[in-house]
Symmetry: C2
Subunit: 192 residues, 2 copies
DNA sequence: AGTCAAAAATGACCGTGGTCAACATAAAAT
DNA sequence: ATTTTATGTTGACCACGGTCATTTTTGACT
């Protein structure tokens, strides 16, 4: 059984990722140019596309990894007990998804698996997010007339909507936690 | 007081739009190329960008106009009386938004005003959509513990989510009305 | 008709993402 | 060691959206 990847490969990919991180740290996601990344990494342009199907795939990987980091932070916290705590707990993810319009767009575009049989890194994090939410809700003081999975998906939908609203010119001033909470209350805790 | 636009201008713009419609009819939105549009319209490339700030602006206009047509159709129908009728009534919009992944992406990208002070044609249709929904809900048999505007926005959020799910590899088989109805029921009609 | 300033059209040119046939190098087989 | 095969790399090249200095057209006012 032979090694499917050579040492070289790992090194090159690592260099590309490091270069990309460097560019992003300096200029943000949106300003990243493939040419700049390969220049810093010291490889030819073609090499980039031998490692990533396209620029989006690189972005998906980098952003997916940050989403996972945010979810790590979220999971370390104690289980939120009410809507306000849920909103509070979601802050790291919210911060990431609102840091740049471009980032939000990439996430939206990849939130469903792009192709059948192939679930990208971002789609995976959505599955994980879903699981985290279900964990919170399954023993929480919320309505029980609807399956937990559906409750969680609904929270996800409102979460996305609030972020979308943040990037909307008309609403960019209102702070987001304040916007999300009433929706979650209406969704999770309809009048008894 | 002189004419701010010349006859020429209207004619050229009309030719560009007609050319674009022709390309879309033949090959769909995603395949549209600016070069092809200007070739058919018989104008230079630069002219295109004198009439539309970018390709996206053309798309926003064409798609916005189709959304408006769909909303016209929707408004002609009698006011839906329950969730199933609401889902039914939304069919024209749903059909448009699921016709191509690209179309859905454009709509999402433009659903909030792109820039402050400038509300694009698609953002406008979202305002109209919102109004239509509020009209349906304000006298319907739905929960009243939440403002109508919020109910309507929630319907919009679930609507978008269902369409996003449609483009997700894992769920593309399930039919959408069937997916949307339970959500709307849970949102609009929590147990009394 | 002739003049002229504003409006519109032009097309060569650029930036950037992405392709691919040719080439280089590593590991396996002889 | 040498050959062979799979794997990795290269950079010239292409496609496509978008720009802008220059040229053409328009129509208002002599």
């Amino acid at each position: 059984m032979k090694q499917p990847v050579q040492q070289r490969t790992l090194k090159t990919r690592a260099r590309l990722l490091a270069a990309a991180e460097q560019v992003i740290a300096a200029q943000g996601f949106e300003a990243l140019r493939v040419d700049q990344v390969v220049a810093i990494a010291g490889v030819a342009k073609g090499t980039f596309f031998a490692h990533f199907t396209d620029k989006d795939a690189l972005m998906a990987q980098l952003i997916g990894s940050r989403i996972n980091t945010a979810l790590d932070t979220i999971e370390e916290q104690p289980t939120p007990k009410d809507v306000d705590e849920i909103v509070q707990a979601l802050a790291p993810l919210m911060a990431l998804m609102t840091c740049e319009r471009y980032v939000f767009d990439v996430i939206l575009r990849h939130s469903g698996a792009a192709m059948a049989e192939e679930i990208g890194p971002i789609a995976e994090t959505f599955g994980r997010f879903q699981t985290v939410l279900e964990g919170w809700l399954k023993d929480g003081p919320v309505r029980r007339d609807v399956p937990v999975a559906m409750l969680a998906e609904g929270v996800g939908a409102f979460f996305i909507q609030v972020i979308a609203l943040h990037f909307c010119a008309l609403h960019s001033d209102v702070d987001m936690p304040a916007r999300l909470a009433p929706w979650l209350r209406a969704w999770l805790l309809p009048p008894a």
